[in-house]
Symmetry: C2
DNA sequence: ACTATATTGTTGCAAAAACTACAAAAGGTG
DNA sequence: CACCTTTTGTAGTTTTTGCAACAATATAGT
């Protein structure tokens, strides 16, 4: 199994990894772009980690409106343990954005120490813990962005978070403007209008999905 | 130390707990209602678990508008590892809603196995893991609620989640209607108006903070 | 290179929400 | 009980947003 190492396996050698996969009853699946992650909705207590590619969790309502609930990158966690609840009128789908590799394990096996009491098992648990904490962090930021009442504030909140660990004042959106609107849970045209206003006020400068923040004190 | 046991210490005896507190360098703090959790914003890599009481994480913007970002109940986790980011214009505050006990530990000590290699240490890690997973779940639900564009949909989404594990069709809000509006990140008066409409349509029936869902197929 | 498809950019209009303000009811406290 | 504070309930007005529709680019596939 060749793959550039996931954070999940940091500090675990390839030999150990093979053993670990065995004692955790892990299985790896591959999905082509657009394919739905069937294992996600179905089974209980499944924990999946994206090794390669990207997964989008979307909500499609009665009227066909799409909202992006989550964007799971490499090393991201996928689990019905903290999944979105399917409502009657809405359909929630997890699907591969590009070709994606996911490793699934049964949540119950993660903490059961195997007979050999392999020491890398605890390293694995720590890594998994880090990933879940990271997921919480991302979700918290998402809530913070969505908690704003106006589109303008949502955009600025996003930019603010994106600039947190950045030296320059340039944010390149990791998605299309269409997807960005879905991510902010707002209408695309209304968002475009708001970005135009921000540009006209001289607070930002936009070129497609590259946003330069000119007046950082405003965000 | 007398306290009704937190999920965090499930399967760990009181004697073991004392030992664990020691090897994790844990310290417990108490806060009176309204008091701010000073340890929260300050230190790095702190992990806190609410043993008793409740904590509200609020965002106060330039104009003094309050939005509830998070509501941490008993067993909930408090951590700057996945905290909300403080923006220039906004002030983020974690404060005790009622008298609250919190146990803090250094995140770095959690995974370091103590010399005695106490077995309950791994039980503790598993418990902590469950709590963090639970937090992710709550945050995901929050995102799902906030992802709705209209107030009406936000309310219905909330009710839907609240009714998931319920036998009857009654939801009693665990907070005032004022706080509920802050939780949904909408204007209170607009929310009241929307609830009135829902009542008039015969979809729900309200009496203060007790909401009875009459037509479950609508939510 | 051509064609189909997705993305970006823009507008008018209708709908929804925020803001403001006020009154009534409920709850807590000395 | 009387007072103060919070919560609940309501309405008018303004602002923001969503919706629909369309044109102009850009991108990908054959």
């Amino acid at each position: 199994m060749k793959t550039n190492k996931s954070l999940l396996f940091k500090g675990i050698s390839d030999t150990e990894l093979k053993q670990l996969y065995n004692c955790l009853r892990a299985h790896q699946s591959e999905f082509v772009a657009g394919e739905e992650i069937y294992s996600f909705g179905g089974l209980r207590s499944v924990l999946g980690v994206v090794l390669q590619g990207r997964v989008a969790v979307k909500k499609i309502d009665r009227n066909g409106n799409v909202t992006i609930l989550d964007h799971i990158q490499k090393n991201g966690v996928l689990s019905n343990a903290f999944a979105f609840s399917q409502t009657d009128g809405n359909y929630i789908s997890a699907s591969a954005v590009e070709n994606t590799k996911i490793v699934f394990f049964d949540y119950n096996n993660v903490f059961k120490r195997c007979q050999k009491a392999c020491e890398f098992h605890s390293i694995f648990v720590e890594n998994l813990f880090d990933i879940v904490i990271e997921k919480s962090k991302t979700l918290s930021q998402r809530v913070e962005i969505l908690s704003n009442k106006t589109i303008r504030e949502k955009i600025l909140s996003y930019l603010n978070i994106a600039l947190k660990n950045s030296i320059n004042n340039v944010v390149t959106l990791p998605m299309s403007l269409t997807s960005f609107a879905e991510f902010l849970c707002v209408d695309r045209s209304a968002m475009m209008r708001e970005m135009k206003k921000l540009s006209q006020s001289g607070i930002i400068k936009t070129d497609k999905r590259v946003i330069t923040v000119l007046k950082r004190e405003y965000i």
